[in-house]
Symmetry: C2
Subunit: 246 residues, 2 copies
Amino acid sequence: MKHTVYAIGIGPGHMDLMTLQAQKAILDCDAIVGYTVYIKQIQSMIQDKLIYENGMGNEIKRCEQSIKWALDGKKVAMVCSGDASLYGMAGLLEELVEKHDLTNQIEIEVIPGVSAAFSCSALLGAPIVEDFCTISLSDYMTPLETIFNRIQYAGKGDFTIALYNPRSKKRPHYLEQAIHILQKERDEHTPVGIVRQAYRQEQEIIRTTLNAIPYEKVDMFATMIIGNSKTRWINNKMVTSRGYDL
Amino acid sequence: MKHTVYAIGIGPGHMDLMTLQAQKAILDCDAIVGYTVYIKQIQSMIQDKLIYENGMGNEIKRCEQSIKWALDGKKVAMVCSGDASLYGMAGLLEELVEKHDLTNQIEIEVIPGVSAAFSCSALLGAPIVEDFCTISLSDYMTPLETIFNRIQYAGKGDFTIALYNPRSKKRPHYLEQAIHILQKERDEHTPVGIVRQAYRQEQEIIRTTLNAIPYEKVDMFATMIIGNSKTRWINNKMVTSRGYDL
């Protein structure tokens, strides 16, 4: 029988935006592994469990610990914010299982979750209504050239865009550069919504346009949604028209 | 005080993939509006409630009924499969509220959900790991030229692609045409995963490649995920490498 590691998407930060399946799997596991911030979010559910947590940059260590505990016979939950795969740990777990030649012994079961694009879209109104894409501005693993190419093609394809990791102290200028690329493809008055600390106490929503982004207010706790050619403001709601004949 | 219509994403079809917030909101509402298939999925939760349901093509009627009931003082839930906005009803509700000049009286509150891209990604392994896009092949409201342009740009940008509404009897050839466009941009051996009836009893998973898609098996109950240049099979799991140095 295979040992299972559950890769669990816990959603955007508020317990109520977790799925029932994620909740049940966490409660059912003996051992919980995760980035410190996410472990804190689910603290009330895991007080009786074995916990391995650490900070950013230790992703491989966390996945290795999950696999080790699973081989020891523990039921292990690797918790990820948002979805378990998108910018999460499910893929890395699969790669490590392969590297250690454990595909016959370890099964990674993925429990999907509500990714930031959707939680932020809900808070802004309904900007993500039809074809859209997500792009992370972190070049920790994806070359900056690839990222900027994607920005350009997303612009040409008139996709609504959800920008993850839009700006951090280490890369303060990427966002401005990305927006400049996009401005060549998209109207300067295109609605832009910025959500910081979604569904947390510190939540902040900034409503602006492509030519007026307050860059200094955007940080690593923010997700940005950039509308497409059919996105507009209906009062303070950012809405993309689906195209119904009303 | 404003009347609220809740636009609720109920996830892919299995009750356990609904968020707690969606469940609470449905239980709290007096009146439920939705496409017949989705109403059936949540039948056990709504037996004591007022229900308005009908089939495909009646989206405007359902939204109008939601608004009417809300004006009557009822707590109304408009249920959508997957997420409430993406290919869902949240945007149309906002547009109708504006059209009827009711923005001061009606508030649309959006409760996000797990969209098919994520539920199907979870079932296939971890193909949606970094920058990706969703494209619907239905040209009911989006011109076919726009859709095919998006396919091409998604290919050029090396996005992982989730194809919604990939094939129906009314448009049997769009999928093949879309894949031909993509084949000019992407390796013919690129992994492709097809999930039919995700998380339902009839669930079926097809693992294939870009040059070997069994078109006749793809229907309106399917979602397809097409890998990017870093997607490969690890045994029967479709996995996109995030790029960690292992």
